[in-house]
Symmetry: C2
Subunit: 344 residues, 2 copies
């Protein structure tokens, strides 16, 4: 298995990316790594080059750059070259902590869409906090497409189903539609239409509408959403969880000796909570619907998150998740065309 990695993406690149790759190399003996970046910068950082190929990429796409233009123009960027290696079957998957828009663009236009899939969807894994440490769910689209049609959300359900089954190992995952109420007639015109489409398919364990309030409580294993709403819900959840944790810290720190002593005694509990809320252990966000795993890990990723994300990619490649999606959409091509034709 070969993984192409953009060494220049993210707040701590290239140092932490390289460190993470070395951690992963030490953990997974069957993976070969391709590190894309300026040779003179990357080479001195690699302590042991066993199974690590450094491939020179002169250009870097910055976090603030307009993504489509950057990917189109900077053909020698670490993102472009890593994605091209996947397209040319020199690598099985692509990983970056860089400019999200550029990663999505490279995924769409360099790696390429699976035949029959209209819009790939950005897929993220989140914890179910009311259950054990390993309980989780998957949500898509969380921001690849701002404007969506019912047909796009219908297709997300299948991509999410395969991801939940193959990567998260959830049997017969419960598919929920993110909506503004749980009743079947809830939502705007788009979501009413999607509800109807999902209800009619027998290959899906569709459980109906779910509300963003219930996501962390495990309302569904796969949460289907349009990219605009999914993005707002996800960021709202992330922001609120962070804010509450910060308020707790601030209140304790300004609460005098008694309060600080109390916090000391709760140290272990707080660590457990942090561990439960930390979803970087599940790896990065995956652009589902393209011909190979294209994974964006958080911009603030440090070495262990990079290693975890490589573990996630390994599971995806080992389980042949992408091939199964390719097969499903191939076998059901006529049906998909029919639904697309009738979709607003």
């Amino acid at each position: 298995m070969k993984i192409a990695i953009d060494a220049m993406g993210g707040d701590y690149a290239p140092t932490e990316i390289v460190k993470g790759v070395e951690l992963a190399r030490d953990k997974y003996s069957e993976i070969e790594f391709q590190l894309y970046g300026p040779l003179d910068q990357i080479k001195p950082l690699v302590k042991n080059n066993e199974r690590i190929d450094i491939i020179n990429a002169d250009e870097v796409i910055g976090m603030g750059e307009e993504p489509v233009r950057a990917v189109m123009r900077k053909k020698n960027s670490s993102i472009d070259l890593a994605a091209k290696a996947v397209k040319d079957h020199q690598a099985d998957a692509f990983l970056s902590a860089g400019n999200t828009g550029a990663i999505l663009t490279a995924g769409l236009f360099i790696v390429g869409r699976i035949k029959g899939i209209d819009r790939p969807g950005l897929t993220t894994t989140m914890p179910v906090v009311t259950r054990g440490d390993q309980s989780k769910f998957v949500m898509l689209d969380v921001g690849a497409n701002a404007d969506s049609k019912a047909f796009n959300l219908y297709q997300y359900a299948f991509m999410g189903k395969y991801y939940a089954e193959q990567v998260l190992k959830i049997k017969n995952p419960r598919i929920g539609l993110l909506n503004n109420g749980t009743e079947p007639d809830k939502g705007d015109m788009l979501h009413k239409h999607v509800h109807k489409l999902l209800s009619q398919n027998d290959d899906l364990n569709f459980i109906g509408n779910v509300e963003s309030r219930e996501l962390l409580n495990g309302a569904a294993d796969v949460v289907v959403s349009d990219g605009f709403t999914g993005n707002a819900a996800l960021k709202g959840i992330e922001g609120a969880a962070l804010s509450v944790m910060n308020v707790i810290k601030d209140t304790i720190m300004s609460g005098g000796l008694r309060s600080k002593l109390g916090a000391l005694m709760l140290k272990k509990s707080f660590k457990q909570i942090g561990n439960k809320m930390d979803y970087s252990k599940y790896g990065g966000a995956v652009l589902m619907g393209v011909k190979a795993p294209v994974v964006k890990t958080h911009g603030s990723s440090k070495a262990t998150t990079v290693r975890n994300t490589i573990g996630q990619i390994k599971t995806m490649v080992d389980s042949k998740t992408v091939n199964q999606i390719v097969n499903y959409f191939d076998v059901h091509a006529d049906e998909m065309k029919e639904i697309k034709k009738n979709s607003k």
Copy 2:
């Protein structure tokens, strides 16, 4: 000042509603109260009927009922009769903790829209948790309209501005557009269009796009959103904050003696946090854009929340917030018509 109250709405109705009204009566000597509900049920609950009129309403609209049909058919329900009192100028404002859809329907079709306002927006007040206890922001629409046009969001900005100025007493409030990124070109077609409209108006202190991640940190004083996305963001934030608090409780309770002792020492800090996160003190959600304050307080409201919400209504009536909106839309009628014509 007269306030018409649905005594039969919410999980603890009518007991807690009546209690809350009595608390408000004792606090605000200038308010007269009209309590709508079955006379035989309400009368025994009222301890002192000073400034409290009980008006018989034979029918009750249940929480699960289809709202439009219920409001149209149950002309003698507590919701219909209380709203009708406002329409007929027998009361200055309407309050209920009942079926949200029915309250919105009664607001729209009985109280009625302000001339020139296309779609009233449900408006909620939230805490800014990173600042002092009294810091807050307002967000609309959080669910009155699932399908929205750019023009609707444009109008929400003005309603939110007046609410923030008059009720929250924020001078020259910063208006932000909830979007999937902060850059001006972010969003779907709808939000790109709204951004353009808001940027062009000189009466608004428009600060650009805001993300749901930053709302509790005070990204804007007025957050403008389409009702579908606003609902998802709001419920995501509420759910995550609740989940984190619950995880903390559970972890502490299962953490042994040391952990429980720690929690005991943090009791005061936890209380402060709870107080900061509790936005029931700001009252209920207001349907802005109708001819009088129509306020929905949380279904789980108890007496103190009902009293707080009556305080919020008093501020709205005293400050003549609705009149100011009526005036603005009257003076700018031609301009609004022009923008509506060009709005998708």
